[in-house]
């Protein structure tokens, strides 16, 4: 089971919670029990050791007391020395000591020592003899050696030693501190001994001391068998701290505490001297392990300073016992915990399994499987929950069924919205891209505009400085163009003149004599008709340039063809040449008389007249051109002014020059002011011609030409208006400048309006214009000379 499931699952949580709530107290119990066990076991072990120590101390004390009592009985025997005859007293007393030694095989020696003369023996008498002290006192000692009892003297000069003086002083039984004694002076026969002394007191008076010498090896035997716990042991200390029994023999004879600091050693010895029961924790001399030592005092009779039994128990022995107890506790606790855990596991599983089934069902339900049902199992609450779940799934399925249709529609709508949103996003992105592109392009364009603006300004500046220089040479160039125009203006009438002159030459050279003979051949009637036609032809010749009878001619030709005349086209043309449209009948009569030659000849003569008119007109035109050129070149000259009527002049100009415009242009005149002005007729005519030409060209010879005059204060305003597209705003300020022209190559010199202005200003007048699409008006204001009509002399 992985950690996450353990954490998150119900089953895992149950296990965790219940397990923890069971395990924590269990562990606490084990911990407390362990501590208690240590304490109890330690206490028990120690008290056991202490008890054992006391026990053995009592045993050893008893054993020593048994010896003491033997000494006491010996001393009592000795006290009754008075019952023994004085002469054998020393011998009997010695025999008694021997008998005591014989009965107590465990003791090394038995002895008694007396005050000098204490048994009624004169010291002087016995001084120097056997069994007598240097002071002459009785002194007997029996000792055991090689299984035999031997008699010897006490002390070898150590009479009045501790064994005598201490009991005498204390008047009490005394245990002498251990000592080594070498029997018969043999060093290797050295024995650690102690002596039990009992004073011999008769009638309250000290007489001497009886005692046993005991080998302390017996004490060793006593304690060496003692075992405390596993590795504990016992030892014995004498009242002076000397070690008199110990499992390690080499340590016997040493003083306790030799491995401790002197102060502590001294304190321990003091406690011993005081006869206390106490405990010392220290490292053991034998194995260096920490150990506890119980000091139990050994009391032997009334022998004063107690000896001690020391029970040594290593701590490890104590803890081993405790450890074993703890191990048992932990093992049992673990088994108990496992049992508890298993119980919880199965209980939790039996609870969680139906819940997991429910969860699976809920997950399936959540994922959309509305047909899912769970099998109720487990505790009654879970069963009810499962029933509720199934009921809920039932209702949910019904509910979902109801909403499925609308849900479908909603999701479709949603998809549409998503699509729309997507395309909107795309559009938005494209729009942003476009805005960026456009912004970039605008920035670029702006930058380039700024650049070109700079260069334009520079160019304009250069242009201004260059303009003045250019004007002069431009004037010459324009003059060249003007000359080309003038050449054209002259070549046209010259062409007409040459053509007509050629015709005249041909006609006159061939027709002269023939004409005369023709006339001579005519009858009077025919001559009248011929002369009539000839006169008509001459009269009409003056106006033939201004009228076109093409349609009449065509109609006539058609009629002539119908009438079956020969060459109807030529005949109609001849009628036109003569201008005899009204004389159709007469013509018909001539033809029917066979005199078509009369018509031919009259037409020829009319053609001659026409040629003459053409030549004259062309010559006039050429002369005018030359005159205009002269006028232009002398435009600064001031001639003597005369009275001029602008309205009359304009009418004449229309008649002379503008018959041609009748095809495409409607001319409207409105002359409200007929005043005359002082000025130069030809020059002013140049103004009107220029303005009218400009107007016609501006509307390309189609539209309406308006000519007006009116009185404005003391001035006459003469206006020329066209219905053309108007003057573009950009060039309005330039149109009066010399050489400015909007016309095609060959149509204008660019001097027209400049000349007009100069002429008008020469007459102290002004010229202005207003223009909009469809209506452009140039107006000349001149000072009026009043409505004076004068004779015109321009013919």
């Amino acid at each position: 089971m992985s950690r996450p499931r353990f954490r998150s699952g119900l089953f895992g949580k149950m296990l965790l919670m219940v397990g923890l709530s069971a395990l924590i107290p269990l562990i606490a119990v084990i911990a407390i029990a362990t501590v208690d066990a240590y304490r109890i076991v330690s206490r028990e072990s120690l008290s056991y050791a202490e008890e054992q120590g006391r026990h053995f101390a009592d045993l050893i004390g008893e054993e020593l007391t048994v010896r003491l009592s033997a000494v006491r009985s010996m001393a009592a025997m000795e006290e009754s020395y008075r019952d023994i005859p004085a002469s054998v007293r020393r011998t009997v007393l010695s025999a008694q000591v021997r008998a005591i030694l014989e009965r107590n095989p465990d003791i090394l020696a038995a002895w008694s020592q007396w005050e000098p003369g204490a048994i009624g023996d004169d010291p002087a008498t016995y001084r120097g003899s056997l069994l007598t002290t240097s002071r002459g006192a009785f002194n007997v000692l029996w000792y055991r050696m090689g299984g035999k009892l031997l008699l010897g003297a006490i002390g070898i000069g150590d009479e009045n030693g501790d064994f005598f003086t201490i009991p005498k002083r204390r008047m009490a039984e005394t245990l002498i501190a251990p000592y080594y004694y070498s029997y018969e002076g043999k060093v290797n026969n050295r024995v650690l001994e102690t002596t039990i002394c009992v004073p011999i007191i008769v009638d309250g008076a000290f007489k001497g001391v009886a005692g046993f010498d005991i080998a302390l090896a017996s004490s060793q035997r006593l304690v060496s068998g003692i075992k405390l716990l596993q590795h504990g042991y016992a030892g014995m200390l004498a009242n002076n701290g000397m070690r008199i029994a110990h499992p390690v023999p080499s340590l016997i004879g040493g003083v306790y505490g030799e491995d401790l600091p002197p102060a502590r050693q001294k304190a321990i010895l003091a406690d011993m001297a005081a006869g206390k029961t106490f405990v010392v924790d220290k490292k053991d001399l034998v194995d260096g392990k920490m150990s506890r030592q119980f000091f139990a005092p050994l009391h032997v009779g009334d022998t004063g300073d107690p000896w001690y039994l020391v029970a040594t128990v290593p701590f490890s022995d104590i803890t081993t016992a405790a450890d074993r107890l703890v191990l048992t506790l932990v093992t049992m606790g673990t088994i108990a915990a496992l049992i508890v855990f298993m119980a919880i596991f199965f209980a939790a599983r039996s609870l969680s399994r139906p819940i997991r089934d429910l969860m699976g069902g809920a997950a399936l339900l959540a994922s959309g499987d509305l047909s899912v049902r769970v099998t109720p199992s487990g505790p009654v609450e879970i069963v009810r929950l499962a029933d509720s779940f199934n009921a809920m799934a039932e209702k949910l399925a019904a509910l979902v069924g109801q909403y499925e249709v609308s849900n479908q529609a909603l999701s479709e709508r949603n998809a549409e919205l998503k699509t729309a949103q997507d395309s909107l996003g795309i559009l938005n992105a494209e729009l942003e891209q476009k805005v960026r592109d456009r912004t970039f392009a605008l920035t670029e364009a702006n930058a380039s505009l700024v650049r070109s603006n700079g260069s334009l300004e520079t160019a304009l500046e250069n242009l201004r400085t260059a303009q003045d220089q250019v004007v002069a040479s431009e004037k010459m160039a324009v003059l060249g163009q003007l000359m080309a125009n003038i050449a054209h203006e002259l070549n046209t009438p010259l062409g007409a003149i040459r053509s007509s002159a050629t015709y005249l030459a041909q006609t006159s050279s061939g027709n002269g004599p023939e004409l005369f003979s023709f006339i001579a051949s005519l009858s009077a009637e025919d001559l009248a008709a011929f002369l009539s036609l000839t006169r008509l032809g001459r009269e009409n010749a003056s106006s033939f340039l201004e009228t076109d009878h093409r349609r009449e001619r065509r109609a006539l030709a058609s009629r002539f063809r119908s009438a079956g005349y020969a060459d109807p086209e030529m005949l109609a043309d001849e009628v036109e040449t003569i201008g005899a449209f009204g004389l159709e009948d007469e013509i018909g009569a001539l033809i029917s008389r066979g005199r078509a030659d009369i018509i031919h000849t009259a037409a020829n003569l009319a053609a001659v007249s026409r040629a003459e008119v053409i030549i004259l007109t062309a010559a006039d035109k050429a002369a005018r051109t030359v005159s205009a050129l002269v006028d232009y070149s002398r435009s600064e000259e001031v001639e003597k002014p005369q009275l001029v009527e602008p309205v009359a002049e304009i009418r004449t100009l229309l008649v002379l020059y503008y018959n041609r415009i009748k095809t495409g242009v409607t001319v409207e005149t409105r002359f409200d002011c007929m005043d005359a002005v002082w000025g130069h007729r030809e020059r002013l005519n140049q103004v009107w011609v220029n303005l009218i030409n400009n107007a016609l060209q501006a509307m390309e010879y189609r539209g309406k030409l308006e000519l007006e005059t009116r009185r404005v204060g003391d001035r006459i305003a003469i206006s020329v208006t066209d219905s053309g597209p108007g003057i573009p705003e950009a060039i309005r300020s330039s149109i009066f400048k010399p050489f400015f022209t909007t016309k095609k190559q060959g149509e204008g010199t660019g001097l027209g309006l400049d000349i007009c202005r100069k002429i008008v200003e020469l007459h102290e007048g002004t010229i202005e214009f207003e223009s909009r699409p469809g209506r452009t008006t140039f107006t000349v204001f001149l000072r009026t000379a009043g409505p004076i009509t004068i004779a015109r002399d321009h013919d």
């Binding site: 080309a484 050449a487 054209h488 203006e489 002259l490 070549n491 046209t492 009438p493 010259l494 062409g495 007409a496 003149i497 040459r498 053509s499 007509s500 050629t502 015709y503 041909q506 006609t507 033939f544 340039l545 201004e546 076109d548 093409r550 065509r554 060459d567 086209e569 030529m570 043309d573 053609a607 026409r610 040629a611 053409i614 007109t617 062309a618 035109k621 041609r660 095809t663 495409g664 016609l696 060209q697 390309e700 010879y701 189609r702 095609k744 060959g746 149509e747």
Partner: protein, 138 residues
């Protein structure tokens, strides 16, 4: 035989009438002679001639005219009447303009003002001969 017409166009009446007189004198009744003072009028006449079943064979036109210029006018006529022959008459003696007209083939011939009668008539004769040879080939 179909009637044939020669059309003269110039904004100066003296020119067209003088040329018409020359043509009449030279060719007499062989053709119908028409005159017009501007391109618009000329086009109207051409339409009328066509309607009357008259065949236009030659146009003699000024170059510098108000409104439609001669070269434009001739191009327009050539489009509607591909077989027609043209003569451009101009008072401009600018060599580059003449070069351009020849190069662009806007007209069959160019005659300069002031022209000589012989020069003009021989030009017309040559073009009529070309026309005849062309029509005989067809």
């Amino acid at each position: 035989m179909t009637e044939q017409a020669i059309l003269c166009v110039d904004d100066e009446a003296i020119i067209v009438l003088a040329i018409k007189q020359e043509l009449k004198t030279h060719f007499r009744e062989r053709f119908i002679y028409e005159t017009a003072l501007n391109a618009e009028e000329a086009l109207t006449i051409i339409d009328e001639l066509t309607a009357d079943g008259v065949s236009l064979i030659l146009v003699i036109s000024d170059w510098l005219m108000p409104g439609m210029k001669g070269d434009e006018f001739l191009s327009s006529v050539k489009r509607s009447h591909p077989t027609v022959k043209t003569i451009l008459v101009t008072g401009h003696s600018s060599p580059e303009i003449l070069e351009r007209m020849k190069r662009d083939k806007v007209t069959n011939s160019v005659v300069l003002k002031p022209w000589k009668n012989v020069e003009l008539m021989s030009t017309v004769e040559n073009l009529l001969a070309d026309l005849e040879s062309e029509s005989s080939r067809h």
